[in-house]
Symmetry: C2
Subunit: 191 residues, 2 copies
């Protein structure tokens, strides 16, 4: 159960057996069925989540009822809503399982305990947030300056696995276009 | 010269005199005139920058020559391009001084030395990146789901100082609208 998260952490820091045991003792596991909600708009995000298997989408709903997908996450990815988690304020996001999904989760108080007891985790989360920041800066720039075709090409190049697992409707929402326009784009690029 | 950056760091970690001296010994200062470039598309971002005074914009130019502003930064803010800085690859961004601007800068090798010698800085940068990540997640969500009016209202509420210092042309570019439409929005909201 812990193999994936241990390998994930070991990318950036080295830990001995005792440290690993302490780390995993702070984690709890939770399973969600496809279409089940991991987090709802208005709730406080109580956990940082690491996906062991499955796939989720992180999205908001605008005033007109339209869904806008910020990010997908699959196994080996961390997800949640960092703003709500850190400040203990209600989230604007929803997280929904797109497949049956199993996560490991850590609470805010346990994460603080971990950082306090094993300061090496400061380095782990510094690098994790640095990488996540890079991804969001890139995505933000693409949203404000790329055409839909450029966004689609970048998406399938960066996340080749996603196209096989995620519906065209959800990919279109992530790209900020209609499913019909995504279908036109795909036909154009395949011909 | 170092008061602002020391206060900035002390928000999250405590440092003694020797640690502060080591930290500041790794910084160099640089001044830019208004309209001067701090970083150009295609260069490798060699430094993380801390603004002592002044104001800059971070932007890209699309294939049609249009400018898209990702972020502004004023005194007490960190800026640069973290992706280019970390991976030593050419940046897609440009950073331009909107006012005469003075920065303190730290190179990648000196930042690595700092993190190695004073691991408390892992915590500082963990929290700094966490906050920056929160800002970009929020901005990304607003770009994909907010109307122009909602984006403008959020911007002036979150950054009240910016409207006084930054031209309407630049604010419009940040909001993803034309200066003419921003003028219409402002008249509507002021009436």
């Amino acid at each position: 159960m812990y193999i994936r998260i241990i390998n994930n952490v070991k990318r950036f820091i080295e830990l001995d057996g005792e440290e690993l045991n302490f780390f995993t003792s702070l984690l709890s596991t939770r399973k969600y069925k496809r279409k089940e909600m991991l987090l709802r708009n208005g709730e406080v995000s109580k956990y940082e989540l690491f996906i062991i298997n499955g796939c989720v989408k992180n999205y908001t709903i605008d005033n007109n009822g339209f869904e806008h997908i910020s990010m997908f996450a699959i196994e080996d990815w961390w997800t949640g809503d960092i703003a709500s988690f850190v400040t203990r304020t209600p989230t604007v996001f929803n997280i929904e399982a797109l497949e049956d999904t199993e996560v490991l989760q850590i609470s805010k108080s346990d994460l603080e305990l971990l950082l306090d007891k094993i300061p090496k985790f400061e380095k782990f989360f510094r690098i994790l947030y640095q990488r996540s920041l890079t991804t969001y800066i890139e995505r933000n720039n693409q949203n404000i300056s790329f055409t839909a075709e450029q966004r689609y090409l970048t998406f399938i190049k960066k996340y080749p696995k996603f196209e096989l697992r995620i519906s065209q409707k959800n990919i279109a929402s992530y790209l900020g276009i209609t499913p019909e326009f995504l279908s036109v784009l795909r036909k154009k690029l395949n011909s």
